[in-house]
Symmetry: C2
Subunit: 252 residues, 2 copies
DNA sequence: CGATGGATATCGCAC
DNA sequence: GTGCGATGTCCATCG
């Protein structure tokens, strides 16, 4: 049974035979629609890695931008996928619907072979995609630039994203004694990796500036793990607790 | 128009009114089905961060394990989402379908308010989820354990995931001179972060073993970036090019 | 629970 | 294109 909406906004087939499913998927891809295929299938992937997935019931989503997703009934992440800019294709192989998605650079191929198809749908969607997100690292940076004393009294920001041989420092500035300060921002509780990152910047600036006094490194985050705290101490780096939003700050 | 499959495997409504949509979604959630709702909607999220998304046409997926996904026509990633173990709910507010997903620890809430509903579907899915994946870091480890000379002649692996105060070393072993070796594995080309990670392990082992000779650190990956290569040299660490699969290896 | 690090991570930006 | 770092990263594993 197939229902076709006016203006190709929606086309759905329940329990289509494989040939009908192939036709609906092919035409929908051609028309730039978003397609979902639900049914029992196997999945093979080959590319940066390779995988096989035995028979099971899944939902396959093909987006008009070339992305493909294979979702099971569990997990936020798809069990298999292709990134955008792939070419989708629907064919019949041995009388069965085969959905493939392929790209080059890197060479990657995804193949979904259906044993049975519960439903095929095609949606003509339009979206402005104007997501507004708050509580990011960018918000934390702005909070500090608006009130540098949140770092410490006398701190003066001089640059953001200042380049060093090791990468860009989130905020570069001077403390009340005129000493250079590198600030690394994290929107959430940090582990050892963030300490390593800050350490690399401070080392690079020490080398680069070859001043008489070492550069101070300050990690700014809501909180820090034990191991990271120990690493900070070992490397003579500092920590200032601060959240992106001004919410209650954790201890440590 | 609504179609109900035998055994509740499939229920689909095209252009349902909001009350019908609410009923279908509610009953499907209750029944443990996977639900998709396609239509024009706005999305509000509040939790670890917060976001708002203006009107647009999207596909909302509610999984029986509590995960929720809001997909636009672009991108591999959902524009909004909730992780598994959330509670889904469908209600009518001012005559409009409102789909909400909520969890605690951390407190997070997602609300999708529909202006219009193109289609609602509920699928009863079962999946064994027996994904077999190759080309992972684990494969790289096994490759080395099978033939330790891939690292160098005389290398003897003694332990995997050996704990240090800085974390677990992928492979711990000895070289032909009986000197301790820490091996860090990466399945793909590495940047500065991997060098920092290996450096932390080597430093920790130097401290921990306080032997007369320093611990050797070897990074194993298909290739390495310039900056990472420089960092390796600075810290006296080594690099061995190797892929998880035995594919052709890149230079440097 | 939190901590830690992998991932076919994806994504965006700068070079 | 590659390099680099952020992400409401997610996720499995381990303590």
């Amino acid at each position: 049974m197939t229902v076709v909406d006016e203006g190709l906004r929606l086309e759905t087939s329940q329990h289509p035979d494989h040939e009908t499913a192939r036709d609906v998927v092919s035409e929908a891809i051609e028309a730039g629609a978003l397609v979902t295929v639900v049914g029992r299938c196997t999945v093979d992937y080959e590319g940066r890695a390779s995988s096989t997935l035995g028979p099971g019931e899944r939902l396959v989503m093909l987006k008009p931008d070339g992305a493909a997703l294979v979702h099971t009934d569990e997990g936020q992440q798809p069990v298999n996928w292709q990134p955008p800019d792939c070419e989708h294709e629907a064919t019949l192989v041995d009388g069965r619907l085969l959905v493939e998605s392929h790209r080059e650079t890197p060479e990657e191929h995804l193949a979904v072979s259906f044993e049975s198809v519960l439903e095929v749908s095609a949606y003509g969607l339009t979206d402005e995609r104007d997501l507004s997100l708050e509580g990011t690292e960018e918000d934390l940076r702005q909070r500090i630039l608006d009130d540098p004393t949140l770092i410490e009294t006398g701190f003066v920001p001089l640059a953001t994203e200042r380049q060093t041989p090791a990468g860009a420092v989130d905020i570069y500035g001077e403390d009340g004694d005129g000493r250079a300060v590198a600030v690394e921002l994290k929107r959430r509780r940090v582990g050892p990796d963030a300490v390593g990152q800050l350490g690399r910047y401070v080392d690079a600036m020490d080398r680069d500036l070859h001043a008489d006094t070492d550069v101070r490194g300050i990690l700014v985050a809501p909180s820090v793990t034990d191991r990271a705290s120990r690493l900070l101490a070992e490397r003579g780096l500092e920590f200032v607790p601060l959240t992106p939003t001004g919410a209650a700050e954790c201890d440590t």
